[in-house]
């Protein structure tokens, strides 16, 4: 019983500090103030033509859901399946000027796969085009 109680306490304390919330671009735009500087996940589609590399090695791009776009800064090597128009999840913090600084970028192993959160964010923004986002990306022969 002591162990169980201890474990419950541990779990609750750990959840308090370590749960990462997910936001779509529109949600995040609307709630930038309440989010503050917490570690969050931002998911959406990489806006075509928005990816720029600067001399210092920082990569800039915007993530959008058709209604809002959030500029993202990232220092590092992008995952293999990162490309314009593709759904990604960025983990990091939003600054007061509305720029998202990403510590990690997640794209998927499989390009037919759309992260469920990103699909959900697009649905909430009303720009979900259904299966065409994922299934049609597989080349037909």
């Amino acid at each position: 019983m002591i162990a169980l109680g201890g474990a419950t306490g541990l779990i609750l304390a750990a959840f308090q500090d370590n749960v990462t919330y997910f936001y779509g671009p529109s949600d995040l735009r609307a709630q930038t103030k309440t989010v503050g500087t917490r570690l969050i996940r931002l998911g959406g589609l990489v806006t075509p033509g928005s990816v720029h590399y600067d001399a210092s090695g920082t990569i800039q791009f915007t993530v959008g859901d058709g209604k809002a776009e959030i500029p993202v800064l990232y220092r590092g090597i992008l995952p293999d399946l990162f490309r314009e128009g593709q759904g990604i999840i960025a983990e990091g913090r939003i600054t007061d000027d509305g720029v998202f600084t990403a510590a990690t970028i997640l794209a998927k192993h499989d390009e037919t796969y759309m992260p469920p959160e990103v699909a959900g964010a697009l649905k909430r923004a009303g720009t979900w085009r259904g299966e065409s986002h994922d299934k049609s990306m597989r080349p037909k022969q």
């Binding site: 541990l10 370590n18 749960v19 001399a55 220092r75 090597i77 293999d80 037919t112 992260p115």
Partner: protein
């Protein structure tokens, strides 16, 4: 035509599985030997049929028969043969078929090797295997048939996901499945014992080798998967606390706890209800893992495109199997009491505490893995639970567990004297303190790695102490002690290797806390320093593989004398058919760590972004895990599992095996 035979063979296997289950239950209830034998024959027949179906699917892959949709979607003529074969299980349908093949393997193994089991128990175990097989075969035939055809056959296939075209991942699923599915035997034993209403020392002894076999495969499978993620994803990490990874960790934890509690059930006739519960739980975790991986309900870095209807089907199987088993347990468990109380300071006391800690560990992993699902169901919020949560819950539980792992094996059964045990571990304690002081004062490492190394040192020196204590007799010299050590039972050496392997693995994991990461942009000819290592970038050339093209960077690792210590050639590969790119990190391993270089993208000036890591002690992680698995194998080969076999060496000292 052959493909249709494959489909038909699967249907036959389903019919045989149903017969196997029915005959097994009836035979056990009526004590009818003829019926029991026919059920065992059915188990063997079912396995042969499944092997037949699997071979037919494999043939379709090898000859690139693209009229089979499954082959079309996951293979290509240009793909190397190894990956044509690995492609069989590199997709949903094929991997589910592999799942039932392995389930059939274990059912047949019980039929063939279970000669020493009492026939009603054996018969029920086989019957439960048959029922599980039938459930999964229904699933495959209805929702996941690998033998579906299309006409006309396309000229070529869509290729296997390039990330899976890797030797590590070719063997990872079969090994992991041997572990996952191997726990079905343990599950069947537990359920059969509940039906029998009899759990005794003999039952605990029978169930252990099966659990051990599954545990060995699970350990090796998890290690292989983690190694693959380490070198193939190019992120320099080896464990991401990802739902799919957690799904394999939970059955491993439950199986580990079960291995230990079954010892108490065997030696002290106690913890019986708990052992049965763990046996049910371990396989339930396997099923849950299959559901999480195959349904795609959780966001995972390892997620692949999935089909929700299949998820619902697997969820149904999950509810039937887990719900049925635990319902039965609730009814029958009260009759399993026995053994009585025992002293808290004793071998069995230490094993109980071990079980408690491991189970709570599994529980915290379970809660962390499923929490996002609950939050998603209860509110609109989408959340993810990452490494910080898992580290902050698992470390406080792992620390006492490892202290205990040092103490437990030195404690005698029934009643131990803590002062005496502490006295015998004096030396191990001294070594541990010396290492702590050395790392803290002289090397000035960060706190978390120090703690990891200190715990690893404690465990390793306690394992060595234990081996010496078991071998050394007063007045004997080093030679005589070593000679005696060679004659210790294999199970004892197995335990020492498993615990020692964990110490090595732990040291490797702690080394990850000392990782050096460098992110830079280099033009050809430029160089950089990685933790004191000089690496010169020679440039990038284009190369062609069998089914990909690649840009290959070359780095020369130059030592202080100006000599070349090694070449590192990271690649960026493009697979034209699958329209996918992969990053192949270049890794140079030595005893003290890995040098790890990843090639990024070029910019307009011709400079490339480069990410490089020095991962101290990284090879120890997988080396330690392999030693753990080897310890399991050694223990499995111990004669005492073969009941009736005479002992080779009469033991003079009281046996302290376990």
């Amino acid at each position: 035509m052959i493909t249709e035979i494959g489909h038909f063979t699967l249907i036959l296997a389903f019919v045989v599985a149903v017969a196997q289950s029915g005959l097994g239950f009836v035979g056990a209830a009526k004590h009818h030997n003829g019926v029991i034998t026919s059920s065992a024959m059915a188990a063997i027949t079912q396995f042969i049929l499944l092997i037949g179906a699997f071979s037919i699917l494999m043939r379709a892959y090898i000859v690139s028969d693209f009229s089979v949709i499954n082959v079309f979607a996951n293979s290509h003529t240009a793909k190397p043969l190894l990956y044509k074969i690995a492609g069989v299980w590199g997709n949903h349908e094929g991997s589910m078929l592999l799942w039932v093949v392995i389930l059939g393997l274990f059912g047949a193994a019980v039929a063939v090797f279970g000669k020493s089991l009492p026939s009603p128990l054996k018969s029920r175990v086989i019957a439960i295997h048959g029922a599980l097989g039938a459930l999964f075969l229904v699933f495959i035939l209805i929702a996941s048939n690998p033998f579906l055809r299309q006409s006309p056959a396309p000229e070529n296939g869509q290729d296997l996901n390039p990330l899976l075209q890797d030797p590590g991942l070719a063997f990872h699923p079969p090994l992991l499945y041997l572990g996952y599915v191997g726990l079905s035997t343990t599950f069947a034993f537990a359920l059969a014992a509940l039906i029998d209403g009899k759990v005794d020392a003999a039952w605990a002894r029978w169930v252990r080798p099966w659990t051990l076999a599954a545990w060995i495969c699970l350990t090796a499978g998890i290690a292989l998967g983690s190694w693959w993620a380490y070198y193939e994803l190019g992120w320099g990490g080896f464990w991401f606390w990802d739902p799919v990874e957690n799904a394999s960790l939970m059955p491993w934890l439950a199986a580990t706890a079960l291995l230990h509690s079954a010892i108490v059930a065997e030696k002290r006739d106690a913890l019986k209800g708990w052992t049965v519960l763990l046996a049910l739980l371990a396989f339930s975790f396997s099923l849950l893992g299959t559901f999480l991986v195959r349904s795609g309900v959780l966001t995972s870095v390892h997620a692949f495109a999935t089909d929700p209807t299949r998820g619902i089907f697997i969820l149904g199987i999950l509810l039937i199997v887990i719900g049925g088993a635990f319902g039965f347990y609730a009814v029958r468990a009260p009759s399993l009491r026995g053994g009585g109380l025992f002293a808290p300071i004793s071998r069995e006391g230490a094993l109980v505490l071990n079980n408690l800690l491991i189970s709570v560990l599994a529980l915290t992993v379970l809660v962390g893995t499923l929490y996002p699902l609950f939050i998603d169901a209860l509110s609109a919020a989408k959340i993810s639970v990452g490494p910080p949560y898992f580290l902050s819950v698992t470390l406080p539980l792992a620390a006492p567990l490892i202290i205990l792992m040092g103490l437990g094996p030195l404690m005698p059964w029934k009643r131990a004297d803590l002062a005496g045990v502490a006295g015998r571990l004096k030396f191990a304690g001294l070594v541990t303190v010396a290492v702590a002081l050395g790392l803290g004062l002289f090397m000035r490492l960060p706190l978390l790695p120090i703690l990891g190394f200190v715990f690893a040192t404690w465990l390793a020196s306690a394992v060595v102490t234990d081996l010496i204590q078991r071998s050394h007799r007063p007045g004997h010299g080093v030679g005589a002690t070593l000679l005696k050590a060679m004659t210790l039972p294999r199970a004892t050496w197995g335990m020492a290797l498993a615990h020692g392997g964990l110490a090595i693995c732990l040291a490797g994991i702690s080394g990850a806390g000392l990782q050096t990461e460098i992110l830079t942009r280099l033009a050809p000819g430029q160089e950089f320093l990685l933790d004191g290592r000089r690496l010169v970038f020679d440039g990038v050339t284009s190369v062609a593989g069998p089914n990909y093209t690649a840009q290959r960077g070359q780095f020369r690792w130059i030592d202080s004398a100006g000599k070349i210590k090694g070449l590192l050639t990271p690649e960026k590969r493009q697979y034209p058919v699958a329209k996918t790119a992969t990053t192949e990190a270049a890794i140079r391993s030595d005893a003290l760590g890995d040098t790890y270089v990843v090639l990024g993208e070029p910019d307009s000036t011709g400079a490339w972004s480069i990410r490089a890591y020095r991962n101290p002690l990284a090879p120890w992680i997988w080396g330690g895990a392999l030693i753990m698995a080897a310890g399991g194998l050694l223990s499995l080969s111990d004669r005492r599992w073969r009941i009736g076999a005479p002992r080779k060496v009469p033991t003079l000292a009281p046996a302290k095996t376990g």
